[in-house]
Structures are given as structure tokens and as C-alpha cells.
């Protein structure tokens, strides 16, 4: 996707967010003294800024597409990046139910492999030892109550 298309897509999304934010601001209770700014005052300023700047970004995107400008290779998430993000999301969903150690072991093992480790023994050892070590350090050493899991 070219720089122009990116700007257009982001501008359109942010414009929608800005309009939504403005609508939510309009619903805020307006309890305040006369001639003084209420709780909606600042959000209104932000909504105006957000809508104006998003519109400007959209226009810039459209202009770039028409002029075929900005066709430079931008940042692309690598395939392993997508895998890491999906793994991260699954880990966070599992965390409250499985607890810190049980949820962290497969996540850590997966990441070690994604970062390029191919030796199964190292992957397995890291997957078990890293979460276990962090659990001991934080729960015993620093008295942080890490998620224990729904099964406990």
C-alpha cells in the first residue's frame, strides 16, 4: 500500500473516530456555572482538532494518490510479527483463566522459536525457566500478586 493510500485509510478511520468522539461529547452532561467551561469544553476542542486534522490527512492522501506521490515502501509487519501478535492476544485471553505460569510457558516457548531458536531443548528450557523465574522473582521477591488462574 502506498503512502497516499495509507494516509487516506488512516484519515478516513480517524475522521470516523473524531465524529464518534464529537457525538459522545455532545451527550456529556453540561452541569456548570454560567460563563465557565464545563466538562464538555475541552473534549469539544479536541473533537474539532481531531476532525479537522483527519480531514486534512484524508485530503493529503487523496492528493498523493492523484499525483502518484509517496509511492515509497513503508513499514510492513513481518509474518512473524503477525504470529507474535496473535500469540500475544491468545496469551492475554488465557492469562486470567490459566494463571501466569501456565499461560506464559507456551507463549514464551513460541516467542523463543519465533526469534529464531531452533534447538528444541533450548526452546523447552527457556519456555519453562523464564516464566518460572519471573514468577518467583515477582511473587516471592517483590510480593506482586500475579494472576493465579481461575482453577485455583
Amino acid at each position: 500500500m502506498s503512502g497516499g493510500h495509507r494516509n487516506l485509510a488512516a484519515g478516513a478511520v480517524l475522521l470516523a473516530v473524531g465524529i464518534g468522539y464529537g457525538l459522545a461529547t455532545a451527550l456529556l452532561p453540561d452541569r456548570t456555572l454560567p460563563d465557565t467551561p464545563g466538562p464538555a469544553f475541552f473534549p469539544w476542542l479536541i473533537a474539532i482538532g481531531l476532525i479537522g486534522l483527519s480531514a486534512a490527512l484524508t485530503v493529503r492522501g487523496l492528493t498523493a494518490i492523484r499525483q502518484r506521490d509517496g509511492d515509497v515502501a513503508g513499514y510492513r509487519l513481518p509474518r512473524r510479527g503477525w504470529l507474535a501478535l496473535v500469540g500475544f492476544a491468545a496469551y492475554l485471553l488465557l492469562l486470567p483463566y490459566a494463571g501466569f505460569v501456565l499461560a506464559s510457558v507456551p507463549f514464551c516457548g513460541g516467542l523463543v522459536a519465533l526469534y529464531g531458536e531452533r534447538r528444541p531443548v533450548i526452546v523447552l528450557a527457556a519456555a519453562i525457566l523464564i516464566p518460572l523465574m519471573l514468577f518467583v522473582v515477582f511473587s516471592t521477591g517483590f510480593q506482586v500478586l500475579l494472576p493465579r488462574g481461575a482453577w485455583l
Binding site: L57, Y115, E117, F138, V144, P147
Partner: protein, 520 residues
């Protein structure tokens, strides 16, 4: 004041504080040396540790990390020609040619000595300027404070030079996020969607962990090889930055640390005499630019390098391995740290992302940086200054004593480091309030950070808006309430007018600077 000063000194020399400062320096040097690991990311990693520590101890750890990170960045700049931090980019210009000539020890010794001098000079300025500035700041009213925070926000301009629209959008998104939760004046719930988790708003540190750490973790997945070691070498050797198949020297073979000459770390007397002027220039420029919001280490380092090149009369040797070219930027980037602490401590205005994290960490301990810190917790404020002094001393000692071992750390396998960092991010977000909601918010901010990267939108404006947004709204509304909606008081109050004038100067400076950069 004397009592507070003594109390601060006692706090800073407690064994736990000293140990934390030393450990912070060590971690900072290591983090700074690892290309791709920023000081901000290192601070975020240790964040969960600090919640359970005493504030004096945790601030020592953070200050050690800050000062150590600046120094560590120069090591990889000198040895690998890859600046560990943006502030050490100028150091590589002469540091790496020295390594190529087989004088790695001399280059590193110069960097360590100059960093120490720059850090000490800025610590002295911190002691002399900060209490006086805090006294002055106590006279500020809401209108002045609004204009001051507005001045702080103009830092955004220096990060938005590539695209004003995207820089400003980033800041506006940050301000919108700040409005979630109870409003700061009347306590009205805004944009909470009746979720009690959102009543207290989005925790700044949760956002910070996600914004910085997750994109960093994904970034480190690029182009890694089995083993994932970060190469270290000298020109022409496997693993060196210029060797084939080793892009940037990050993914080469095992380090050739032993091959690098590190015997002569202690600088020769003749070299010390030669770097007097560059160190003086770097220290003064670094401290001054550190105080200015947004200027930061990279600018200070390059300006000092340029001044030193002109002032020493050996400009023709710069870029070919001149020790003055290592000393000036190194003194400058370490002096920036002390300079940046001045507005952070006295006005609550962060000069860079690292001081923004420091503010967040202090707030997590119930300590609000600003002029009142010198009234309500003057002992802590002085303790912080003494800890910063110790951080510079520890930097020197650790670097000189352990450099041979430290350079091997550059070869630490990312395959083990990065997964540990990912789990630490979760622990950090969880530890704030023992809430899974904060962990989800952290992940959400990580996705936002990646989206911003995809769009080439700067993250720092969003970060600054998260730090300063609440103060901006609070002071604006209180000032307008006091004047019954009359906005002229922002221009009639001398302090407010001064800050607004400086804001204009800051914006114009950024615009002119950006145009100069774009000019062919």
C-alpha cells in the same frame, strides 16, 4: 533548606539507594549497548520492580538507567558503528575510525571520561538552578501554568517536522485519551461507557509500556537469524557492521570482543589535555539544550561536535578518529540528562520520553514533580539530585572496571531476551493495579503504536499529550473560570505572556529547522 539537603544526602547514600543506583547504571549501560533497546524500553522493563521499592531506591535505579543508558549507547556506537541510542550517533563519527585503527580502548576511555565530566557538570547545574526555578514557579497561577504546559507541548513540533498533520494528530489522539475518566475539575465521568475500570482513566504507564515495548518487540523480529546474537566485530571481520551478510552488524556471528583492543582504557594525560575544550563545550551545550524541552541528546551531541570541530583548530582530523570528536558529543549527551531533570523536577514538564517515564514513575509513588515537590518533599528532591550525582560516579567506575565483560553483553541472544521482555511488559501492566484490564489496555496501546508506525506517525507527541493533557485541561478551565471566560489574562500575566512567547519561538525554531533539513 540545609536540613532537607542533608536529609536528601542521607537518603541517597543509604546502602539500598546506592545499590539501586549502581544496578541501574549497570542495566542502563547494558541496555544502551544493545542496538534496538532504548533507554525508555529498559525503564519500562524495570518498572514493575520499582512499585515495590521505596521511592528513594527506585528513583536511584531509574537515574542510574538514564545516565548509564546514555553512556552504553556510545559503546555500541564506537565498537559497532551502530549507535545504541540516537544521542550517541555523533560519537560514532570519530569513535568507530579509532576502533578501525586498533584504538578501541582509547576511544572508549575518552567516551567514559567525557561522559563523566558532562554528567557532573549537569549535576552541578541541577543543584544550582532547580531550587531557584522551583521557588519562582511557586508564584505561577493557573493561567501561567496553562501557558507553561502549552510551552511543554510545543516539543511536539520538534518531533513532527516530517509531517505536521501527523504530529498534531498524534497529540490530539493523546489528548482525547486523557479525557477518558473523571474530569479533573468537577469529577464528571466522561467516555467511560459505564465501565468502572475506566473511571480513573487510562493509566499513563500502561499506555507507555504498550506504545514503546510492543512495537520494539515486533521490530526485533525483523531479520533475526538462529541464535539471534548481535554481532560485534571490527571492520572486515564476520559480524562487523561492514562485513558481508551482516546488515548493521546485528546478526553476524559470535562477537569478536576479545579481538578488540581494550587494554588502554584509562586516558593518557595528553589526551585529557586535548579534550578539555571539547568537554567544556559539550557540557555547556548539553546542559542548556537539556533544559529546553524537545531539543534532546541527539541535537546537543551534533551541535557540540560541530562547535568542537570549529573551536579546537583540528577540524580537519574530525571524522577520521579525533579524540575531541568523541569527547564533545559524549560530554553533551550525558549533560543533557541533568539538564532535562531541571524542568522535570521544578515544573513537571518532561523534556524527552525518558523524563516523561520518570514523571509517570514518580506519580505511581504519589510524588508529583513540580514546584510543590521542593516544598512538600524537598528531602526527596535533593535526594534525587544526589542520586543523579552518584549515578555519574557509578557510570565511571562500572565502565572502567567492567568494560571487558560488558562488551560481551552486546552479543546477548535476543531469542531469550525478547520473550522475557514481552512477559515483563505483562507483569508491568498487571502490577499497576493488579488488573487484567490494564494488561488489555497495554496490548491495545501496543497495537496503536504499531498502527502509528505503519502510518509513519510519531509516537512522542501522543506520549507528551498523555503526560501533560490533564494539567493542560485543568489549568485552562480553572483560569477561565477565575476570569469568567476572559481569555486576555493569558496575555496580560507576565509569566503567561513569556511562556506563550517562548511557545511561538519554539514552534518557529522547529519550523525553520525542519525547512533547513528538507532543503537540498
Amino acid at each position: 533548606m540545609t536540613g532537607d539537603l542533608l536529609q536528601g544526602l542521607l537518603q541517597a547514600i543509604q546502602p539500598a539507594s546506592l545499590a539501586a543506583t549502581g544496578v541501574g547504571c549497570l542495566l542502563g549501560i547494558v541496555a544502551g549497548m544493545i542496538p534496538g533497546m532504548t533507554i525508555s524500553a529498559a525503564m519500562i522493563i524495570v518498572l514493575p520492580l520499582t512499585f515495590v521499592l521505596d521511592p528513594n531506591v527506585s528513583i536511584g535505579l531509574f537515574l542510574g538507567l538514564y545516565a548509564g543508558g546514555m553512556l552504553g549507547g556510545s559503546f555500541s556506537a564506537i565498537l559497532l558503528n551502530i549507535p545504541g541510542t540516537p544521542s550517541s550517533a555523533a560519537t560514532a563519527l570519530d569513535g568507530y575510525p579509532l576502533v578501525a585503527r586498533g584504538q578501541a580502548g582509547r576511544a572508549l576511555g575518552m567516551a567514559v571520561s567525557a561522559s563523566f565530566c558532562g554528567g557532573l557538570f549537569s549535576a552541578l547545574c541541577l543543584f544550582l538552578i532547580a531550587p531557584r526555578l522551583a521557588d519562582l514557579a511557586l508564584q505561577f497561577r493557573s493561567a501561567d501554568l496553562f501557558s507553561l504546559v502549552f510551552l511543554g507541548l510545543t516539543i511536539i513540533c520538534s518531533f513532527a517536522s516530517r509531517s505536521w498533520i501527523k504530529g498534531l494528530l498524534s497529540a490530539v489522539i493523546g489528548l482525547a485519551i486523557v479525557t477518558v475518566g473523571q474530569d479533573p475539575v468537577m469529577g464528571t465521568a466522561r467516555f467511560t461507557f459505564r465501565d468502572p475500570n475506566l473511571l480513573s482513566g487510562v493509566h499513563f504507564l500502561t499506555a507507555l509500556i504498550g506504545l514503546f515495548a510492543i512495537p520494539q518487540l515486533i521490530e526485533n523480529l525483523h531479520g533475526n537469524s538462529p541464535g539471534g546474537a548481535i554481532g560485534l566485530g571490527v571492520p572486515g571481520r564476520p559480524g562487523s557492521p561492514d562485513s558481508p551478510g551482516s546488515p548493521g552488524g546485528r546478526n553476524g556471528t559470535a562477537p569478536a570482543a576479545g579481538a578488540i583492543e581494550l587494554r588502554k582504557l584509562l586516558p593518557a594525560f595528553a589526551d585529557l589535555r586535548r579534550i578539555r575544550l571539547p568537554v567544556g563545550i559539550g557540557s555547556a551545550v548539553g546542559t542548556f539544550l537539556g533544559i529546553l524541552p524537545g531539543a534532546g541528546g541527539p541535537i546537543a551531541a551534533f551541535i557540540s561536535y560541530d562547535y568542537a570541530k570549529k573551536a579546537t583548530g583540528r577540524g580537519d582530523r574530525f571524522g577520521q578518529g579525533a579524540v575531541e570528536g568523541v569527547a564533545a558529543p559524549e560530554a553533551a549527551n550525558n549533560a543533557v540528562t541533568g539538564g532535562a531533570l531541571i524542568p522535570m523536577m521544578t515544573l513537571g514538564i518532561p523534556g524527552d520520553p525518558v523524563t516523561a517515564i520518570l514523571i509517570g514513575a514518580l506519580l505511581a509513588h504519589g510524588l508529583a514533580p513540580g514546584p510543590l515537590l521542593f516544598v512538600e518533599r524537598a528531602d526527596f528532591a535533593y535526594g534525587l539530585m544526589f542520586s543523579f550525582f552518584w549515578a555519574n560516579v557509578f557510570n565511571l567506575l562500572i565502565a572502567l572496571a567492567g568494560l571487558r565483560l560488558l562488551v560481551k553483553v552486546v552479543a546477548a541472544p535476543r531469542t531469550l531476551l525478547m520473550p522475557a521482555v514481552a512477559i515483563l511488559c505483562v507483569v508491568g501492566a498487571w502490577s499497576l493495579r493488579n488488573s487484567i484490564f490494564d494488561v488489555y489496555v497495554m496490548f491495545g496501546f501496543g497495537l496503536l503504536g504499531l498502527a502509528m508506525k505503519w502510518l509513519d506517525m510519531p509516537v512522542v507527541p501522543l506520549l507528551l499529550a498523555l503526560v501533560l493533557g490533564r494539567q493542560l485541561e485543568e489549568n485552562l478551565r480553572i483560569a477561565l473560570t477565575g476570569s469568567q471566560g476572559d481569555i486576555t489574562m493569558f496575555f496580560t500575566s507576565p509569566f503567561s505572556a513569556l511562556f506563550l512567547g517562548l511557545s511561538v519561538v519554539s514552534v518557529v525554531w522547529s519550523v525553520v529547522g525542519a525547512r533547513r533539513q528538507r532543503a537540498p
